[in-house]
C-alpha cells in the first residue's frame, strides 16, 4: 500500500528524519511512536506530500508522491498535528470546500459531508464557525476532513492530543472502526494509545526507526528482568543490610511516609525467582512483608530504552549505586525507583522545553 524507502530530511545540518524505510500493508493500523521532536510529524508530512524529502522516496499505491502527486494524494486523508481548519467558515462550509478540492463529484458532495459528520459526531455543530469550536471538536472536524472521499489510507498525526479522557476513548474506538476498511497510520508519544489501537508499532527516535514489530513481540523483547516491589515494616538501613549479601540482585530502598514502613524495589534476571529469595531473606531477618507484587516489563520500558531515555537501566546497574541513593535522600531514591510512567512524564517535560 505504502512503501517508504530511505527517507532523509535535513534541515541545515540537522537530520529531522534519517534514513527511514518501511512498508505499510493494507487494512492494518500502524503506529509511529516516539518522543516529541523524534521526526514523526516530519515523516508524515513527507508521506502526505506536504514537504519534500531531501532524499529517498515514498510510493503510495504505486504512485510516487513527488512524481505523480495527484494520484498519490487522492489515496490519502491527512489530519495534521493542528487541524487545518479555516476559522471563518462554518463546519459544513469547510467540509464542503474540502470535499470539492478532494475531487468528490458535485452531486455526491452533500451526502459525503453528511456521512463524515455523522461518523465523527459533529453533525450538531454543522452551523458553528470553526473558530468557536472547542479543541476536541476542531480535532473531530479535522478528522472528518481526512475521511472525505473515502481515501484508502488515513494518516493521523497525534489524533488525541488535547482531548479529554472521554474523547480519547471515543477517538480510539473511531480509529478502530476505521481500520475495518482503511489502512491507518497514526503517531503518538503516548504509549498506551498506540499499543491499544495499533497492529504494528514503529518506534522512532532522533529521526530513525529503532524498532518495529507487533506490540506483543516488542514487549517480549524487553522481558529480560523481573522486578518485584515490596512494602516491609522496618527501617531502611536494616533492609539494606539484609539485601546486601544477596547476589545478582539490584535494589532501591525508599522510606514511606507512614513511619516504620519501607518500599523496596528489587530487580533480578528473569531466570532467578526474585520473590522467594527476597521473602526468605527478609523472613530470616524477622522483617514483616506487608505487600509484594511483580512488575511485569511493559512496552513503556522498551520505549524508554530504545529512545535513549533509560531509567530502566539505572537500578539494574550496581547495587552500590542504589544503596547510595537510598542513603542520600528519599527524593533521590524516588527518582531511582520511579515508575516508568512517572519517568516518561518528566522526560516529556524536558523535551517540551
Amino acid at each position: 500500500m505504502i512503501q517508504v524507502e530511505h527517507l532523509v530530511k535535513k534541515y541545515g545540518e540537522n537530520y529531522a528524519v534519517n534514513d527511514i524505510s518501511f512498508t505499510v500493508e493494507e487494512g492494518k493500523v500502524y503506529g509511529f511512536l516516539g518522543p516529541n521532536g523524534a521526526g514523526k510529524s516530519t515523516a508524515m508530512n513527507i508521506i502526505t506530500g506536504y514537504i519534500a524529502a531531501t532524499s529517498g522516496r515514498v510510493l503510495i499505491n504505486g504512485h510516487d508522491v513527488l512524481e505523480e502527486p495527484q494520484e498519490a494524494k487522492r489515496c490519502i486523508g491527512y489530519l495534521p498535528e493542528l487541524p487545518p481548519l479555516y476559522m471563518e467558515m462554518t463546519v459544513e462550509e469547510y467540509l464542503t470546500f474540502a470535499a470539492a478540492i478532494k475531487n468528490v463529484p458535485k452531486d455526491k458532495r452533500k451526502a459525503e459531508v453528511e456521512r463524515v459528520m455523522q461518523k465523527t459526531s459533529v453533525t450538531h455543530m454543522r452551523k458553528r464557525l470553526c473558530r468557536n469550536l472547542s479543541k476536541g471538536y476542531k480535532q473531530r472536524v479535522g478528522l472528518s476532513q481526512a475521511l472525505l472521499g473515502d481515501p484508502k489510507v488515513i494518516i493521523l498525526d497525534e489524533p488525541s492530543v488535547g482531548l479529554d479522557p472521554m474523547q480519547i476513548i471515543e477517538m480510539r474506538d473511531l480509529i478502530r472502526g476505521l481500520a475495518r476498511d482503511h489502512t491507518v497510520i497514526l503517531s503518538s508519544h503516548i504509549l498506551s494509545q498506540v499499543s491499544e489501537t495499533c497492529d504494528h508499532i514503529l518506534i522512532i527516535s532522533k529521526g530513525k526507526i529503532v524498532a518495529q514489530d507487533t506490540p506483543e513481540n516488542l514487549s517480549r523483547l524487553v522481558a529480560e528482568y523481573e522486578t518485584v516491589e515490596l512494602t516491609v515494616i522496618s527501617d531502611p538501613q536494616t533492609v539494606i543490610d539484609v539485601l546486601k549479601p544477596l547476589e545478582d540482585l539490584s535494589y532501591a530502598v525508599l522510606p514511606l511516609n507512614e513511619p516504620g514502613k519501607v518500599r523496596v524495589t528489587i530487580r533480578g534476571d528473569k531466570d532467578t525467582d526474585v520473590r522467594s529469595i527476597v521473602a526468605t531473606a527478609l523472613a530470616q531477618a524477622r522483617i514483616a512483608i506487608v505487600a509484594m507484587n511483580t512488575i511485569s516489563a511493559s512496552l513503556e520500558d522498551i520505549f524508554l530504552r530504545l529512545t535513549g531515555n533509560t531509567p530502566g537501566k539505572k537500578p539494574v546497574a550496581k547495587a552500590a549505586k542504589a544503596e547510595e541513593a537510598a542513603e542520600d535522600s528519599a527524593e533521590a531514591a524516588a527518582e531511582e525507583t520511579g515508575s516508568p510512567a512517572e519517568t516518561e512524564e518528566t522526560n516529556e517535560g524536558d523535551e517540551d522545553k
Binding site: N45, T48, G49, Y50, I51, A52, P69, Q70, K73, R74, I76, Y78, P80, L82, P84, L85, Y86, M87, E88, M89, F97, A98, A100, I101, K102, N103, Q145
Partner: protein, 288 residues
C-alpha cells in the same frame, strides 16, 4: 481551482476586509471624480483614474493581498491545500483570481461614472472605458506582486509592509528616473550596485558560494566591457529600465490614447511573472 477561488472570494466578506477595500476604493475614486471631473468640468473620466491610481493602489493592494498565503501558512490550513490532489499552480491561480474578483466588484460599480458625465456633456467613451479596463489589469498586475509578497512570510503585517514598500517604489519610479544623470559612469555604478545586491540575494537564497561568485564575476565583466567599449549603451540606461517598470505610467499611455493592446500585454506579463514567482516560492518552501 474553482473551489479555491470561491472560498478565497467569500473569505473577504466573512470579515470587514472585503467591504473596507471596496468602500475605500469607491470613496477615493468618488473624491477624485468630484474634484477632477465635476468641479473643474473635465469630461475625461480616465484622468480621475490616473490621478487616483498611485494613492489608491498603494493602499488597496497591501490590504487585499496581505492575508492570501501568509494567513494560510500561519493557520496551517495550507496543509489542507498542499496535501489535497490540487497542484500548486491551481491553488495559486484560485487564490489570485479570488482576490482579483474583489477588486472587480469595485470596477463594476465604476462603470456608470462616464455615463453620468455623458449626461452633462460630450464624453469620449472609448478612452474612458479603455481606461477602466486598463485599471482592472493594472490591479491584476499589482495584486500578483502583493500575493507574491504574501507567499514569502507567515506574518500578514510583514506581507503588507513588503507590498506597501513595493507600491511606493513603483509610484516613485518616474520621479527617480527623471533625476538620474545620463552619463555612462553613473549608470555603470548604479548597475554595479544592483549586481552586488542580486549576488547577495542569490547567496542568501541558495547558500551556494560558487553560483553567487560566478554570477558576480559575469555581471561585472559584462558591465566593464560595456563601459569600456560601448559607453553609449549605458548612457541613460537606468532611466530607460525604470521606464519599463513604471507600471502606473503604462496606465497613462493606455488612457490618453486609444485602446492599446501592448499595455494590456504588459500588465498580463507582469501578473504572469509574479504568479510564477509565487508558485516557485511555495514549491521552494516545501523543499527547504
Amino acid at each position: 481551482m474553482i473551489a479555491v477561488f470561491k472560498r478565497e472570494f467569500k473569505s473577504y466578506f466573512n470579515n470587514m476586509l472585503g467591504y473596507v477595500v471596496i468602500a475605500g476604493t469607491l470613496l477615493l475614486i468618488a473624491f477624485y471624480f468630484y474634484s477632477t471631473n465635476l468641479v473643474s468640468g473635465q469630461p475625461k473620466f480616465e484622468y480621475t483614474l490616473i490621478d487616483a491610481s498611485g494613492f489608491l493602489f498603494t493602499l488597496v493592494v497591501p490590504l487585499l493581498t496581505m492575508k492570501s498565503f501568509a494567513e494560510d501558512r500561519r493557520q496551517k490550513s495550507d496543509q489542507l491545500l498542499l496535501t489535497s490532489p490540487l497542484s500548486v499552480p491551481q491553488i495559486v491561480l484560485g487564490k489570485y483570481f479570488g482576490t482579483l474578483a474583489v477588486f472587480g466588484i469595485a470596477i463594476l460599480v465604476l462603470i456608470p461614472y462616464p455615463l453620468i458625465l455623458g449626461i452633462m456633456g460630450k464624453v469620449n467613451y472609448m478612452t474612458a472605458y479603455s481606461g477602466l479596463i486598463g485599471y482592472f489589469f493594472l490591479c491584476a498586475a499589482l495584486s500578483a506582486i502583493g500575493i507574491f509578497m504574501s507567499s514569502l512570510t507567515e506574518s500578514q503585517i510583514i506581507s503588507a509592509l513588503l507590498s506597501l514598500c513595493t507600491m511606493l517604489f513603483l509610484t516613485m519610479v518616474p520621479m527617480i528616473a527623471s533625476k538620474i544623470p545620463s552619463s555612462a559612469l553613473v549608470n555603470y555604478i548604479i548597475f554595479t550596485v544592483i549586481a552586488i545586491a542580486i549576488v547577495i540575494a542569490i547567496y542568501a537564497l541558495t547558500r551556494n558560494f560558487t553560483v553567487a561568485a560566478i554570477f558576480a564575476v559575469a555581471a561585472e565583466a559584462i558591465l566593464i566591457v560595456l563601459f569600456r567599449k560601448f559607453p553609449a549603451v549605458l548612457e541613460n540606461s537606468v532611466a530607460n529600465l525604470l521606464g519599463h517598470i513604471a507600471v502606473f505610467d503604462q496606465m497613462a499611455s493606455l488612457a490618453y490614447g486609444l485602446f492599446d493592446i501592448t499595455t494590456l500585454v504588459y500588465y498580463i506579463s507582469v501578473a504572469a511573472l509574479f504568479i510564477f514567482f509565487t508558485i516557485q516560492s511555495i514549491e521552494k518552501r516545501r523543499w527547504s
